[in-house]
């Protein structure tokens, strides 16, 4: 028998009217930004749909974790950042942000499919990938732990005198705001006045645990002022709103405004991973304002604003599908790591040392 969840478990949030986006959305968001961010959303969705199919076909090593429903805020962040200058530490549901920040599709497919050619060489998998020396730290599973790492990169750059107007960004979910690591790191970043942008994707459920069992604050953004951090609340299903809020937060961090915390309200449109059917998400949540699909809203917004045509979007989608097929095919042809060739050493130092 399935558990029945009372409607109150789904935290009621103010529902903005799509036809009248929040005032922040009126801030200048240029056409190129929206096209670029949307295209990353679309690529991520197509890529992740393929990953889900591969998982169901038993072709994936380990789990698959989708960002479905979180693409708008993630892509807005990745698009607002500058690769080669900024730091971006994505989390579990940030395929769109990764794509927007310039991660190659092969990095993704190779890691999920266990190719030795991937950035982790088969030593770590799925979403635990990155290129730390290119400004993309590789997340560990312990939530909240990446915030202080990004802070440390910014701190070091400031010490070295090469920070300039770079920013560092990372993402977490509603569940991770309960961790000590989150608190320690956000406080530390605020004490150091670092240009850190933290996106909290409040997707209503941490694995299966609803907001009501996670925190008692009305809106997580209320926490920001307690840390001395600028807080932003945004409708995560609204690409225009995400684009304007994220850009403005990143801009403020860039010009010395200190840490910025953006809370994006949305609903996870998948299970925690593809092994999870999310039966515990009540119908009321799915049918609510936040249950809508940010990709569909994004299409409507782009078309209505004359930023892109339906035909163009169809071409982008087909192109993405083709790129995904190619990236999957290549990763599948590549070798798995070879335990007999593996350097079974966890340290860079080669003992014995001599003086």
């Amino acid at each position: 028998m399935r558990l029945q969840f009372p409607a109150a478990w789904f935290y009621p949030l103010p529902v903005p009217n799509l036809d009248q986006p929040p005032a922040a959305a009126e801030l200048a968001v240029d056409r190129d930004f929206l096209r670029s961010a949307f295209r990353s959303m679309l690529v991520a969705r197509v890529l992740e749909s393929k990953l889900a199919s591969l998982y169901k076909a038993g072709k994936i090593v380990g789990g698959v974790y989708l960002g479905k429903g979180q693409e708008a805020v993630s892509a807005a962040l990745g698009t607002a950042l500058i690769r080669g200058k900024d730091v971006f530490c994505p989390l579990i549901r940030d395929q769109a942000g990764r794509t927007a920040f310039g991660e190659t599709m092969l990095d993704c497919t190779r890691t999920y499919l266990g190719s030795v050619e991937g950035p982790m060489g088969g030593r770590d998998g799925n979403v635990h990938r990155g290129r730390p020396q290119e400004g993309v730290p590789a997340m560990i599973s312990h939530l909240g732990a990446q915030i202080s790492v990004v802070a440390g990169i910014l701190f070091a750059r400031r010490m070295k005198g090469c920070l300039q107007d770079a920013v560092g960004a990372t993402c977490i979910g509603d569940g991770a705001t309960s961790t000590g690591a989150f608190h320690e790191a956000l406080n530390l970043a605020a004490v150091e006045k670092l240009p850190l942008v933290l996106v909290v994707a409040n997707n209503q459920f941490a694995y299966s645990t609803p907001n009501s069992r996670q925190f008692a604050a009305g809106d997580l953004v209320e926490r920001a002022s307690g840390y001395g951090v600028r807080g932003w609340s945004v409708d995560g299903t609204d690409l225009l709103a995400c684009a304007s809020v994220v850009r403005e937060a990143v801009r403020r961090a860039r010009v010395g405004g200190g840490p910025q915390m953006i809370v994006a309200h949305l609903l996870r449109l998948s299970g925690h991973g593809e092994h999870d059917d999310a039966f515990y998400v009540p119908q009321t949540a799915r049918q609510s304002h936040y249950g809508r699909d940010c990709l569909e809203i994004g299409i409507r917004q782009l078309v209505e604003k004359g930023v892109a045509t339906v035909d163009e979007i169809a071409v982008w989608r087909d192109q993405a599908a083709e790129d995904v097929q190619r990236a999957v095919a290549q990763a599948q042809q590549e070798s798995a790591p070879d335990p007999y060739r593996e350097d079974w050493s966890a340290i860079a130092t080669r003992f014995p040392l001599s003086l």
Partner: protein, 321 residues
């Protein structure tokens, strides 16, 4: 003039800050105040912008150090007491220790752990964590026992590309003095014969080296010549030096101040049994603290940790075989 163990740690950090611009110090109360044990006294004034007070956030402190290491710096993080590194455990063992293996990017951070018991310090200011950290792949765990090693192993540890857990013993801070710091020293990873002998080997590290030497001095009056091996680093563990010593003596006692379940002494006994079973004339023995939290009262504390008396007792039993 003499140099204490804590002086050596301070001098090493001064030298590191002077010689290597990648080095910076981060920890609670270490800047103006100079650290709870004065290991960084005066360094903030000598090196402006290189010595930072941290908030009481051990997890974020190590996270920050990892980020700085990714950027090519060499942070030295002072935990005010080793015991509090439990709050940073995740960042040390999961973030720092796995990073090189996962990404190929090394994390050259040094975490200083003021370790071990002193009278009256109680359960939360007395712990020895070396065994726990040594268990994790990706970490180098140093346990200097002498003034010269405190100095050189800190400098050599910071030069390594891997995360280093540097366990400095609080009991030795001011009690242990040397006339001067020797320039000659062994590389990290090599153990030292602290006292030569032929009837039994005591493998010890950190403050227990001195307790073992005292015990050996006492037994000498009865005609026993006890060899004391100072491990210097518990990871890597210099099995060659240990086996060579056991080959000479035929008897092994491993002494550690940490809790008795598992840990460094268990590893030493296990490795010697595995690789040098035929060298042993008697069953190898271990001596650790008692299996309780470290007690506060000096009388209880003195009975909780291995002492020259308890080491002598263990050795007499071992020599009876």
């Amino acid at each position: 003039m003499s140099v204490t163990y804590i002086d050596a740690i301070r001098e090493a950090q001064e030298k590191l800050l002077r010689d290597d611009e990648r080095v910076f110090l981060y920890g609670q109360d270490i800047a103006t105040f100079g650290g709870a044990f004065k290991a960084t006294k005066g360094l903030a004034a000598l090196f402006p912008g290189r010595v930072f007070d941290a908030p009481i956030a051990e997890d974020a402190m190590i996270g920050l150090a990892v980020g700085a290491a990714i950027e090519g710096l060499r942070p030295i993080v002072e935990m005010q007491f080793a015991d509090f590194s439990s709050i940073a455990f995740n960042q040390i063992v999961n973030q720092a220790a796995t990073h090189y293996y996962r990404t190929g990017v090394p994390i050259p951070i040094t975490v200083r752990l003021p370790s071990g018991g002193t009278p009256g310090s109680g359960p939360f200011h007395s712990q020895s964590m070396e065994g726990i950290y040594a268990q994790y792949p990706g970490l180098i765990v140093l346990t200097p026992a002498t003034v010269s090693d405190a100095y050189h192993m800190l400098i050599d540890g910071v030069a390594l590309d891997d995360p280093v857990v540097y366990c400095e013993h609080k009991f030795l801070y001011r009690w242990l003095k040397a006339k001067t710091i020797n320039n000659e020293h062994l590389p990290i990873g090599q153990a030292r014969i602290a006292r030569p002998g032929k009837h039994a080997t005591v493998v010890a590290y950190s403050a227990m080296v001195h307790e073992a030497v005292r015990a050996a001095d006492r037994l000498q009056r009865d005609g026993w010549e006890i060899e004391v091996v100072d491990l210097r680093s518990v990871k890597p563990l210099d099995l060659d030096t240990i086996l060579a010593s056991v080959a000479r003596t035929g008897r092994l006692l491993a002494v550690g101040e940490s809790f008795p379940w598992g840990g460094v002494t268990a590893e030493v006994v296990s490795l010697v049994t595995e690789h040098g079973f035929n060298l042993l004339d008697a069953p190898p023995q271990r001596l650790n603290s008692r299996d309780t939290p470290v007690p506060y009262h000096p009388k209880l504390w003195a009975s909780h940790r291995p002492t020259p008396e308890s080491i002598c007792d263990s050795l007499r039993q071992l020599l009876r075989f």
